[in-house]
Symmetry: C2
Subunit: 195 residues, 2 copies
Amino acid sequence: MSNLSTTSDEILASARTLIMNGGYNGFSYADIADVVKIRKASIHHHFPTKTDLVRTLVSRYREDAEAAVAALGQNVQDPFEILKVYADHWASCIEDASRPFCVCAMLASEMPALPPEVAVEVKAFFRFLATWLTSVMERGCKEGSLRLSSEPKVEAEAFMASVHGAMLSARAYGMPDVFGVILTPTLQRLSPTGA
Amino acid sequence: MSNLSTTSDEILASARTLIMNGGYNGFSYADIADVVKIRKASIHHHFPTKTDLVRTLVSRYREDAEAAVAALGQNVQDPFEILKVYADHWASCIEDASRPFCVCAMLASEMPALPPEVAVEVKAFFRFLATWLTSVMERGCKEGSLRLSSEPKVEAEAFMASVHGAMLSARAYGMPDVFGVILTPTLQRLSPTGA
DNA sequence: CCTTACCTACCTTCCAGTAGGAAGGGCGTC
DNA sequence: GACGCCCTTCCTACTGGAAGGTAGGTAAGG
């Protein structure tokens, strides 16, 4: 059981990397086959269609994020610190090029061209992220750990947009540190001390 | 001369729309041929390769933006108003689905998978936009029309990221008004009166 | 003996791009 | 003003390769 499903995990992992690079239409079963060292047809055994593959990938991506967010809530209490850890997570992912872009941000940009089943999952991810960030903002507002200038829900959406936009700029310039440059003042603004 | 080059303009216009939908790998010469009502091979007469086509498209997109920005500077003096007009422009484009996404934001997300010639043009667009926004921020800071909490350059990058992130969210949710929801407080924060 | 995992071989469709020709307009020359 | 010439535009017909997906078989393990 432990590494019986390794192949399908490898397929998902390589698909994730490929999507981060070029989006839904930017990779093929042949690309995955090259990486995983398996025949193209064998991928169809694990995921009958490309839609199945990406739907599963995004769905699991959200589940993983949900787990990570729950764990983060256990280890870090302060809402401001939580936002900082979240931003730092992406900063280092982009910096060391391990996960230079969020899969769902990537797919969201292609939304109108996505198979409906995949689009639904992407939407679900955005909703999950917004809901979580909203709860963090709400708690930070109550506890005085965050200084909000709008409703928590709006602040959450604005923060999420900043993160995604910063990713995009870092990629456009080919300068990973741009992400940090953009997010530092964004976090600063939310800090109760103003620094 | 006036409408001699109409066909090549139509090709560029339809390519722009198609890229906004699905990105670089999300459209083909056949798709353009359907829209422009021309044979696939005829497109190659105007743009020998797909790379040529998109490079030209992005380059002209930047030129148009430069002209629009210059015109905006003539008609509107107040830096805060300029940012508002810029945001409103995109809000209405997204709202009426006429140009529901920025071509360069779309292509930037696919950066690593783009032909180098195209990637260069996309980078140039981002640099132009950042430079312009920085100059607006600088003037607004000097004149007191904008309240900045960081250096003009950083504020400009953050503002640009918010715009792009807001576009992404609007698309992900399938709710055009999300763009406005995110940008309203972003502008508010920059307003000298705080409202 | 059945299921799982993987294979070879193949299909259809689509892709970017090429070859080569037809139609027509502009233009200089006789 | 008619002829020949060329350039632009668009066409039909095609190529080689890559796309997603299928058919059917083999080997291993419970």
